[in-house]
Amino acid sequence: MSNDNKYKFSWDLLGDIKAGRPNLGNTTRVEVYRLLQFAFRDVIEQHVGTEETDKIFYEAGALAGKEFYSHMLTPTTDLNEFVRQLQEVLRDLGIGILRVEQADMVKGEIVLTVSEDLDCSGLPELDYEVCSYDEGFISALLESFSGIKFTVKEVDCWCTGDRTCRFSAKADA
């Protein structure tokens, strides 16, 4: 997909929050974030259908993940160090509590859980996983770290009655 578009993302678009919000600062309520995300999801689905919507969220997550990696993490080749940094920044920003269940970089298989996930923790029970944005986000983080493309699937989600979101990442063959 070409990215020479009107709304091409750049980190600068996040703006100078110090200057722009001298009184309100750089935090907002989680509800606001979710309102935005779930409103988008509804309308986009009405326009392009469920499958395309999931794809769009996955790809948007991947774009965000790539930018996030290059602006928020210090490049490293050490998996432990990468995970440590990521855990810290995800917690500090209130995105979620990341834990690694398994990580085999040789086989290209990683299982992660995110508790208190920004997108879905506390949502009513649905019969599907909702965190496709997170899937894309994680896939891009892993790709930025390792140079290998990963496909990430959310296998458990708060929304399916699980207390934590669990993501299975596999390196593309």
């Binding site: 432990n80 398994q102 458990d156 009655g161 207390r163 934590t164």
Partner: protein
């Protein structure tokens, strides 16, 4: 209360007995009773409880690998426990591989004990490493660790083509000090030499070690032979400037120094040998001097 038809009552009793069995019995059938197989929702409930049961039994016997496919609060809670235990396993593996930054924060009292264990391990490992790397007499790097550092420097030089130099330093007439003033005085002379080395303007990246009785080797990364010779002259001057003091007695020591510069096909051995040969030339030509291996 409405009367339950006899047939339904029988089925209900059977269902309760079956579900009760899933909770309390040691062995259960993987399938629900035939009579209940067609009761709406019952086979699913049976399967869910069976899966939860199998998972818990697995955990109890140390098997964390069971797949929990069912959704809902109870399977979800068990999956959360499974995730925590798996994460703990991963963390323990990381600790075993030497990553002592791992901390647990989701297991109540256990977390605290676990974390203090890791902190303690970390401290002990550091202490042990220091002991393993240090020459007990002088506190400088010992031969083994110096060689490790030198190997790493060789690697770096090869990879980036950065040049570096090695100095061999041997105290002059050390045997004479030992014989005439005793071994304690000799030991003091060695400690004095190390203090001089530490205060002769070495940079953070320079390092040295005691590699023999009165023999020390120094490495100057990113430094050519001229720069190293300058540094060596400074060490030589500083060394003889101040006296060694042992039991109220003062005496002076000097050193002979040989320097070699890294060449692309060098091994530790060839590099040290050239510095050694230069050092012997310094000895042969009168001691208390610096010789270069060109």
């Amino acid at each position: 209360m409405a009367q339950i038809p006899e047939k339904s009552q029988e089925l209900l009793n059977l269902a309760i007995e079956n579900l009760q069995g899933l909770l309390t019995d040691r062995t259960v059938s993987p399938e629900p009773p035939k009579e209940l197989a067609t009761v709406n929702g019952f086979p699913q409930l049976h399967a869910t409880l069976l899966e939860v049961r199998t998972a818990i039994m697995g955990f109890a016997s140390g098997d964390l690998g069971c797949q929990i496919t069912k959704k809902g609060f109870l399977p979800g809670s068990i999956k959360a426990l499974q995730a925590s235990l798996n994460h703990l396993t991963w963390q323990t593996k990381m600790i075993a591989s030497g990553d002592f930054t791992q901390r647990v924060d989701f297991m109540g009292d256990f977390s605290e004990s676990f974390n203090s264990m890791v902190t303690l391990l970390d401290e002990s490992m550091r202490k042990l490493e220091l002991i393993a790397h240090t020459d007990p007499l002088t506190g400088s790097n010992n031969r083994g660790y110096f060689m490790q550092l030198l190997a790493a420097e060789l690697e770096r030089a090869k990879r980036y083509g950065h040049l570096f130099t090695v100095l061999m330093l041997d105290l002059d007439h050390f045997k004479r000090v030992n014989d005439s003033r005793g071994h304690a005085a000799g030991d003091e002379a060695l400690r004095y030499l190390c203090r001089v080395l530490q205060t002769s303007g070495l940079r953070k990246t320079d390092f040295f070690g005691r590699i023999g009785g009165e023999e020390f080797a120094l490495v100057f990364p990113e430094t050519g032979i001229e720069g190293a010779a300058e540094a060596a002259e400074k060490v030589r001057d500083n060394l003889k400037e101040t006296a060694v003091i042992h039991e109220g007695q003062e005496f002076f020591i000097t050193a002979s120094i040989g320097i070699s510069e890294w060449r692309f096909d060098d091994t530790q051995e060839t590099l040290l040998t050239r510095a050694d040969q230069a050092m012997y030339r310094a000895k042969e030509t009168g001691r208390d001097r610096v010789c270069l291996s060109r």
